[in-house]
């Protein structure tokens, strides 16, 4: 059968070379291993973290910049040009984004770990330049996403949040060395809120409007309630960020309540998608995605409790951990489990025998099961350890999380290796360009 071999003329032009998205995904997998290792080493400093340079701050940024942002960049540059039908003008800006953000993040977390303010400021500047460049690429692509109104709206809001969080990040990083800011903790809180709920949270919610119907084989959620949820989310993030800067507890409280309404509506839309979808057996990835959905409102409730002194002495730490590792990391790992084999099968192309690469054959289930079990245990252990101030449990949970991260890195590495190998075979077998038409 020769049909499959002929399909990809112009379509593949909008698929980036596999090395581009996969370099971000592999980096994310490595950063996740380093994050759990750093948490393991941080021990007591992690469960009582209140900000400031050290191992805990390094672990936080290994997760946010290293895992979450790297994955968001890799997925965005791969998925958006296909969805919007706008081919990226060139590949080199994305490579430049990689060389600024990934080594920049590595340098930043090393400087945070050792507590070197000058190095923190320099590495933060390099990373921010990369993120601003990525914002430009994202904006260029979103500009024409006319038939993806909900996703585009979330994308634009996420992009604005990224610029705000980058600006706040630089301010906080420079302040470690200069101490000129009058209220460092307030800006750091705003940085976390706008980064977690704004940049990453809105991006996750927006992509869900395409990915969940794709996974479940269902119609996309209706526009009107989707835009209501979007508006509530944006108002909540704006109010919370502004409230944090101003040190206004009532504003943050009101923002959290609005955020809970946005969450309830978003989750209702997503569960309706799953309920109406043709594919009922959604697999292991949806165990993680459903757990993450449960952790999103839990994060907001714990945040409210911490704000009013009702979440114990480590309430703020618990809120931050639930936001970054509970909701965002769990959701993103669930999605990655699903889209990595999908993207790999598109890039791998047919084998030498002409048979297409199948998603089901590219996904190694063993490492994924180990990862999901370890991730669940690690999150639960860390939540209890932070709430009850139990250092030994935090170390045990981090060790289990490390095993899970290694399993996920194995899964990512194996898929990447297959894509690279298939790409080499294809290039070595390719006829001269003028014979390909």
């Amino acid at each position: 059968m020769t049909l499959a071999a002929t399909f990809l003329g112009g379509a593949k032009g909008r698929l980036l070379p596999a090395s581009i998205p996969f370099r971000f995904f592999v980096s994310a997998a490595v950063f996740q291993v380093l994050a759990w290792l750093t948490l393991l080493l941080a021990g007591e400093a992690a469960i009582g973290f209140r900000g400031g340079p050290g191992p805990a701050l390094a672990a936080v940024h290994l997760l946010t910049l290293g895992v979450l942002t790297s994955t968001a960049i890799g997925a965005s540059v791969q998925l958006l040009p296909v969805a919007t039908r706008r081919t990226l003008a060139a590949v080199w800006p994305i490579k430049l984004v990689f060389w600024l953000t990934v080594p920049g993040t590595a340098a930043l977390v090393a400087a945070m770990y050792t507590g070197n303010p000058t190095a923190i400021a320099a590495a933060a500047a390099a990373t921010v330049v990369g993120l601003v460049l990525f914002s430009g690429l994202l904006a260029h692509n979103l500009w024409r996403a006319g038939d993806l109104a909900v996703v585009a709206a979330y994308g634009w809001a996420s992009l604005v949040a990224l610029l705000v969080v980058a600006g706040l990040g630089v301010a906080v990083a420079v302040n470690y060395g200069t101490g000129v800011l009058p209220d460092h903790p307030s800006l750091a809180l705003a940085h976390m809120i706008v980064g977690g709920f704004g940049f990453m949270g809105l991006l996750a919610m927006g992509f869900s409007h395409v990915l969940m119907p794709m996974f479940a084989l269902a119609a996309a959620p209706p526009h009107r309630p989707s835009f209501v949820a979007f508006t509530l989310a944006v108002v909540g993030v704006t109010l919370a960020g502004g409230g944090a800067v101003a040190g206004s507890s009532p504003a943050i409280t009101f923002a959290a309540l609005i955020g809970l309404c946005a969450t309830a509506l978003h989750l209702r839309l997503m569960t309706n998608v799953l309920r109406s979808g043709m594919r009922k057996r959604l697999g292991l990835s949806f165990v993680l995605i459903r757990a993450a959905w449960a952790l999103l409102p839990a994060t907001l409730i714990v945040g409210l409790a911490a704000l009013h002194g009702l979440a114990g002495s480590n309430g703020q730490t618990l809120f931050g951990f639930l936001l970054i590792a509970g909701w965002l990391l769990t959701f993103l790992l669930g999605v990655l489990q699903r889209i990595l084999p999908f993207l790999a099968s598109m890039h791998a192309g047919p084998s030498a025998s002409g048979a297409p690469a199948l998603m089901s054959e590219l996904a190694a289930l063993g490492p994924l099961k180990l990862h999901a079990a370890c991730h669940g245990i690690a999150i639960a252990a860390l939540v209890i350890a932070i709430a009850a101030d139990m250092v030994w449990l935090a170390r045990m949970g981090s060790a289990v999380g490390l095993v899970g991260a290694l399993a996920f890195a194995w899964f990512t590495g194996e898929i990447t290796w297959r894509v690279v190998a298939a790409s080499r075979v294809r290039h070595s077998a390719a006829p001269p360009a003028d014979l390909r038409g």
Binding site: A4, R85, M278, L358
Partner: protein, 90 residues
């Protein structure tokens, strides 16, 4: 919705194939409508889809189901794309 498919989907039959027109739908609904037709058994051997973009994310799903595919007509990035899909394994 018709037959559980997103609203706006048009289907018809010719002697050679079952056709589905998903132009104007927002992603991922074209892909979802086509897969619903295949999984629901409405297209058993040959399915021709009329789209307004090349459905790149559909191809891994077709591979998984044992369907081969070919773009038989494409009038540029803004025009109609006709995708022919043929079942090659049960």
């Amino acid at each position: 919705m018709n037959n559980g498919r997103p609203a706006g989907v048009r289907t018809w039959k010719t002697p050679e194939a079952v056709h589905i027109d998903v132009r104007g739908l927002e992603p991922p609904e074209p892909m979802v409508a086509i897969l619903q037709m295949i999984d629901g058994g409405e297209a058993s051997t040959v399915l021709v889809a009329h789209l307004d973009r090349e459905p790149i994310f559909l191809f891994p799903e077709l591979n998984e189901r044992g369907w081969a595919y070919e773009i038989v007509s494409s009038s540029g990035s803004q025009g109609e794309v006709i995708l022919k899909m043929v079942r090659v394994s049960a």
